[in-house]
């Protein structure tokens, strides 16, 4: 698989009241062409910040993002323009992300005109119809003159998807794209996006807090789990759900209630050492999960930040006890996710 996006020591901190908050801290990850990767984690884990940096809506404060080998924050204006079209974002709230004063036709035709993708009004109209059909809004003619408030949540989110693909992106960042939509129609939205991905050859970063949804959407892809700004585990989706390695992933999976009364009531729960979520302002030293970790193993966990380490089964885990236990299965990291002595090489001067 060819890498399309490489995150190298990616970090982002914010300053609030003169205090520094590390929202994303040293994330290394390679996203491949045609691949679906889901980022999961609880609120404040940095998954949305990571998504925004990939979509170039937010600049990193450390490390870099390569798009097809080029640093997206060092591009000349022509490359940057192209890059902005190649990566599109679908936002969570279709009630806030569509201009309420514009008709559906206005919303979808604007990028076509702005980027001169269609040459005249007739071609624009034809393309808008095509796009609406692609996202299963049929018959498209009925929707053209409607305003967002006249559409249901599901229909609005389809309009957002149609708008995102007007500029023929190669990469889509979808941030909680179905969480505001009723459960009965989520699956049809996800199926539509999967179909578009295959048809238009796009790759996806799908950000969600719902692991079951992540497993479904990234069936052939990977799931990455973030905790307090760090990527703590990434593995092929089904493998991650069935054989989680990182204690945080295990705790999360054991905590999720399931829509099956017998299974959910007999599920083995893993208890945390502490229920308190550390503040992002005062992150614990070493592994930031150590104060809550059921596998806590003394000094090393308290003092040394565990690196994300790849194993032969293509999982990667940032946890000292797991790494010690699986010493024999260590593997080389895929390109772009080098760590260790080479780490300093990519630091910005």
């Amino acid at each position: 698989m060819k890498p399309i996006i490489e995150l190298q020591h990616l970090s982002r901190s914010f300053e609030i009241k003169r205090q520094k908050i590390k929202a994303v801290d040293d994330v290394n990850l390679t996203l491949n062409e045609g691949e679906v990767v889901c980022l999961v984690g609880e609120s404040g884990c940095g998954k949305t910040t990571t998504g925004k940096m990939i979509a170039n809506l937010l600049a990193p404060t450390g490390g870099r993002i390569l798009f097809r080998g080029k640093d997206i924050n060092q591009m000349n204006s022509e490359d940057r323009r192209k890059h902005r079209m190649s990566v599109q974002m679908i936002h969570q709230d279709p009630y806030a992300s569509l201009n309420p004063a514009h008709t559906i036709y206005d919303i979808i035709s604007a990028p076509l005109r702005h980027h001169k993708i269609t040459q005249d009004e007739k071609a624009t109209y034809k393309r808008v119809i095509e796009l609406l059909e692609l996202v299963d809004l049929t018959p498209p003619e009925d929707l053209l003159d409607k305003f967002p408030h006249q559409l249901s949540g599901g229909q609005r989110q389809r309009v957002s998807v149609a708008r995102a693909i007007t500029v023929q992106p190669t990469y889509i960042v979808a941030d909680e794209a179905v969480s505001m939509v009723d459960v009965s129609i989520r699956i049809s939205l996800l199926k539509m996006m999967t179909r578009l991905k295959d048809k238009l050859g796009m790759s996806f970063l799908f950000i969600t807090h719902d692991l079951a949804l992540a497993k479904y959407f990234a069936w052939e892809g990977r799931i990455g789990v973030m905790y307090l700004g760090r990527l703590v585990e990434i593995a092929p989706s089904r493998q991650l759900v069935e054989q989680p390695q990182h204690p945080y992933t295990k705790v999360l999976l054991s905590a999720i209630p399931e829509a099956d009364p017998e299974r959910t009531r007999s599920k083995q729960r893993i208890e945390l050492r502490s229920m308190d979520v550390p503040s992002l302002l005062r992150l614990p030293g070493g592994c930031s999960f150590h104060p809550r970790c059921p596998y806590f193993d003394g000094e090393k966990c308290e003092n040394v930040v565990p690196e994300l380490t790849y194993f032969t089964d293509s999982s990667a885990v940032a946890c000292h006890p797991v790494q010690a236990q699986r010493q024999a299965e260590l593997a080389h990291a895929p390109s772009g996710t080098r760590s260790g002595p080479e780490a300093g090489k990519y630091d910005r001067s």
């Binding site: 129609i185 699956i187 497993k215 479904y216 999976l253 999720i256 209630p257 829509a259 009364p261």
Partner: protein, 350 residues
């Protein structure tokens, strides 16, 4: 429609409850003809999508509906057996005078809302929130109240020393939600209504609240109406589940039956639409179409425009909620073959 008699064991009996909202476009028929019982010590989950009427029902039960809503029909009967004399006290909630209603709320029926931050007064310490509630109902005060509250806070796994003198903003979302649960238990109500109590919370915090609720049920004697759009929470907590669609209950049964042997096409569709951790990829199907406009409801069965099993009769006549087995009622003309017919339909469309 014939009305089920009210049994002495039920804490709450709702019969033919109908609630409308006035809107500019017309009348919003939010709840129509809803009947159910809540037994002593039981957890009843109301599940459904947004606009199905589940929150409106719960607000109707404690008469906290907004000004543009009116209860146009039905009755709500609340019963409490005096522990000393064994006598049954029957209250008709809709006929209570305002002062009686104020006493009824919280002392008999407490409510835990979705957003715990909005439910707690931001300028009052937790101790004052408990104090105000107790004073309003002429309950304990002073040291006795502090002791009782500390016990309740311990029950919901909070440290009373940390929480008692804190303001709501000093607590995390999960802690506030647990404070609210402790507060709801203060006056020993027989019935607690929880509207999406874990929706805005993270997975691990949600797990903590669910564990607290499960533990409380074992220790205390109260009934719970649990409102959620999340099927998995209902699966975990409920004894019985009512599925709501377009303002009516379309299926009502034990949690086991609802999840393992549902008979209404909407319940079946809802369960098939939710991805699970253990599930495979092919089982999942969305329900086609979208929920109806509550101002301009479809004729006949309100689910018929989205139902794959629709027949002529479904378009004409609305099916009543009928008992198809002991403790299992369904509102569907085709409940007999819904399961097998839907399976055949899925195979055909794939």
């Amino acid at each position: 429609m014939s009305e089920k008699p009210i049994s002495g064991n039920a804490v709450l009996s709702v019969r033919n409850l109908t609630i409308e909202y006035r809107a500019r476009r017309g009348k919003v028929q939010a709840v129509r003809n809803v009947s159910f019982d809540v037994q002593r010590g039981e957890v009843l989950a109301l599940i459904g999508e947004s606009g199905s009427g589940k929150t409106t029902v719960s607000l109707g039960l404690v008469q906290l509906l907004p000004g543009n809503a009116s209860i146009t029909a039905g009755k709500i009967v609340y019963q409490r057996r005096d522990s000393a004399t064994g006598q049954l006290k029957i209250t008709s909630v809709l006929e209570l005078k305002p002062s009686e209603l104020r006493a009824f709320r919280w002392a008999e029926c407490a409510m835990v809302f979705q957003s715990a931050l909005n439910a707690l007064n931001p300028v009052l310490k937790i101790s004052e929130q408990f104090g105000d509630t107790a004073a309003a109902h002429g309950y304990l005060h002073g040291k006795a109240l502090a002791e009782r509250s500390a016990d309740l806070l311990k029950l919901v796994r909070l440290d009373p020393d940390r929480v008692w003198k804190a303001y709501p903003h000093e607590l995390s979302g999960g802690m506030r939600q647990r404070v609210l649960i402790a507060l709801s238990l203060l006056l020993e109500p027989q019935l607690i209504i929880m509207d999406e109590p874990t929706t805005a919370l993270d997975i691990l915090t949600q797990r903590n609240i669910m564990d607290v609720l499960n533990a409380l049920r074992k220790q205390l004697d109260f009934s719970l109406i649990f409102i959620s759009h999340d099927l998995s929470l209902a699966a975990e907590l409920a004894d019985r589940v009512a599925t709501m669609y377009a303002g009516i209950i379309v299926e009502l049964s034990s949690v086991h039956t609802i999840f393992m042997n549902p008979h209404h096409p909407y319940t079946i569709g809802l369960i098939n639409a939710v991805p699970t951790l253990a599930g495979t990829k092919d089982e999942l199907v969305s329900i086609p179409g979208q929920p109806p406009d509550l101002i301009d409801l479809p004729t006949g069965c309100k689910f018929h425009p989205r139902c794959p099993l629709v027949e002529e009769r479904c378009r004409r006549e609305e099916p009543p909620l009928e008992d198809i087995a002991p403790n299992h009622s369904v509102a569907c003309w085709r409940w007999r073959d819904a399961r097998s017919a839907l399976k055949a339909y899925e195979v055909k469309t794939q």
